[in-house]
């Protein structure tokens, strides 16, 4: 008997997460090679940031920098929200019933299987700032780049948590996956501050923006790149972390609820 009853839970969860991430990365590998990523996807992302920075340049002093940073960081969030669609890829493999019937939590697998978006998003966002920043006169130091990288990872993770939540909602409504992720990202563009300061959209929308990932992380990044990193920046990062944790908790709750409900009512989720 090779099963080990004393296998520590943390180690087991880490292994499941790792293998789920590997399975997701293998799926992602069919979308891009490193060449098509670099010459296609990355260039397209740079062009998008450059487009907005150029508009900012026309708007007035400082606007190019504002829009460049905002859109570069928004790209990182966009990749996190892509998890909405890729979470449903598990359904296409026909593995969900087997995952549910296994001794491990299927939610753990869903958390791990879209992690490949995180390095992709951070690379796009960081690359955009590093390559296009000097064009907009953005002062970059080694310390600010290091802090920027940490905060971009944070934004990627928190947005990923939102993507997981949305993905758990549309897990069986495959037709809606791209609609929902695009709608969510559009809302984030409006209320989280990448294009206009969040107080410019009114108190209600601004308040809603403060419940979403990206808002606090982006403010923290703006402070870092303005050379004003300090306790306030750390506080913003803390809020960003808290909000991401809340979205992750919501995603896990929805997945658990769906699993229980599906077991009871025989919904399509686990019967494919």
């Amino acid at each position: 008997m090779s099963r080990t009853a004393d296998d520590p839970r943390t180690g087991r969860r880490t292994r499941v997460l790792g293998w789920a991430a590997r399975a997701g990365a293998a799926d992602y590998g069919t979308v891009f090679t490193w060449k098509t990523w670099l010459l296609g996807w990355f260039v397209r992302m740079l062009a998008q940031v450059l487009f907005f920075a150029t508009i900012g340049n026309l708007l007035g002093p400082g606007q190019a920098r504002y829009l460049l940073v905002g859109n570069a960081v928004a790209l990182v969030a966009l990749h996190g929200v892509f998890a909405t669609a890729s979470t449903t890829w598990e359904l296409q493999n026909g593995t969900l019933p087997l995952l549910v019937a296994s001794p491990s939590s299927p939610a753990l697998v869903l958390v791990g299987r879209s992690l490949f978006w995180l390095p992709d998003g951070v690379a796009c966002g960081l690359g955009a700032v590093l390559i296009l920043g000097p064009v907009a006169g953005l002062p970059l130091t080694a310390a600010s780049v290091a802090l920027l990288t940490v905060l971009l990872v944070l934004v990627a993770v928190t947005s990923y948590c939102l993507g997981l939540f949305l993905g758990s909602l549309v897990l069986t409504a495959v037709d809606l996956r791209n609609v929902v992720s695009n709608a969510a990202f559009t809302v984030m563009l409006i209320v989280c501050g990448p294009e206009v300061p969040s107080d410019a959209v009114g108190p209600v929308l601004a308040g809603f923006g403060h419940l979403l990932p990206l808002t606090h992380g982006l403010l923290a990044i703006r402070e870092v790149l303005a050379g004003e990193a300090g306790a306030h920046t750390a506080g913003l990062a803390g809020w960003e972390t808290l909000i991401g944790a809340c979205w992750l908790a919501a995603a896990l709750a929805v997945l658990g609820l769906r699993a229980r409900r599906s077991r009871r009512d025989g919904a399509a989720l686990f019967l494919t």
Binding site: M1, S2, R3, T4, D7, G11, R12, R15, V16, G18, W19, A20, R22, A23, A26, D27, G29, T30, N93, G94, T95, P97, L98, L99, V100, A101, S102, P103, S104, V109, S262, R263, R264, D265, G266, F270, L271, T272
Partner: protein, 334 residues
């Protein structure tokens, strides 16, 4: 075992030398948005002893897969109850899951872009194996199932037969005590199906309980100690294949190798119902009683026929009688 006064709905409690699988009065309805609920299972009681290979036979839509889903803990019954190795299906699914291995037929259920080895390592992690044990068990299974040479190839490059063997390996990676196989030879060519059946027998020989859902009667006859026939969600019969064969009408059969003039004489014997040529050149004579069997045997042996044997109806005939002709007489062995 079926004493309903024990407070478990007639089921055995854990630790009583419990059956591997035991259900009593299982019913499963699916609600539809419009129209009445669809009954997929109705009053299904099945007992599978430990170490048994048990067939679940029935046409498409009979309810086999629904029963498999309930037993694999991904679906709850609407009413009734069931246990796997003494653990309640409704409330103890976390205890049951490590004890089960599940294999579905068809293409789905593997990660096509991972290699065979990676797939098994992944499922080993899901079943809680440590890295060291997972490596050892993966290597052993790849070797045992004849996949070692392709272990590091992506599953998407595998033939259907290889995928199905990998499915089986995945199903037993956690060393389950009960193996649920839902039409595992579905889509396989005859040779691959035969290899897979040999593997299933080997697994059963290791002491595992196997519950095999299939509509392949030859498969059930070859593999199963007992079969349960399901039709329209209800159990029609549950017995050993040979015992079931005795339950169909009193038709007995004599297989002989003889030429036409003699066959004409055989047809004229009292009690002979008919003859039918078989693929191997012999002729199957159907008679209505044991006396008629003796009469035919004596008649042909006297006339120098040396290739002659009696046989019971195959499972296919039982199946046709009990399922397709809608006979629902009570032949369930309780």
């Amino acid at each position: 075992m079926t004493d309903s006064r024990n407070g478990t709905g007639g089921l055995t409690r854990p630790g009583q030398g419990e059956p591997a699988v035991e259900t009593r009065g299982l019913r499963r309805e699916y609600r539809t948005r419009r129209g009445p609920a669809v009954v997929a299972l109705d009053d299904v009681s099945v007992t599978v002893e430990q170490g048994e290979v048990h067939g679940l036979l029935g046409p498409n839509g009979a309810g086999k897969s629904t029963l498999m889903k309930i037993l694999s803990t991904v679906l709850l019954p609407t009413s009734g109850n069931g246990r796997v190795l003494g653990h309640d299906l409704a409330t103890e699914h976390r205890r049951i899951r490590p004890l089960l291995g599940i294999v579905f037929g068809g293409e789905r259920g593997l990660y096509p872009r991972l290699t065979a080895r990676q797939n098994l390592r992944y499922w080993a992690a899901l079943y809680g194996l440590t890295t060291r044990n997972a490596v050892a068990r993966t290597d052993a299974l790849l070797d045992e199932l004849g996949l070692a040479e392709r272990a590091d190839d992506r599953v998407e490059t595998f033939s259907v037969g290889m995928r199905q063997r990998l499915h089986l390996a995945r199903g037993i990676i956690g060393d389950p005590r009960v193996l649920l196989l839902d039409e595992p030879t579905n889509g396989l060519d005859p040779l691959a199906a035969r290899q897979l059946r040999e593997l299933i027998l080997r697994l059963a020989g290791e002491g595992r309980t196997v519950l095999l859902a299939t509509h392949d009667l030859a498969e059930a006859e070859a593999l199963c100690d007992r079969v349960t026939m399901i039709n329209h969600g209800r159990v029609v019969a549950a017995e050993a294949p040979r015992t079931l064969a005795r339950l169909v009408p009193r038709q007995e059969r004599v297989r002989i190798r003889a030429e036409e003039p003699l066959l004409d004489l055989v047809r004229a014997l009292p009690g002979t119902l008919g003859t039918e040529p078989a693929d191997d050149g012999t002729t199957v004579v159907t008679v209505d009683s044991k006396e008629a069997v003796g009469r035919v045997l004596a008649f042909v042996v006297e006339r120098g026929v040396t290739e002659v044997r009696t046989e019971l109806p195959g499972l296919e005939e039982v199946y046709l009688q009990l399922v397709h002709r809608g006979e629902t007489r009570s032949v369930v062995n309780r």
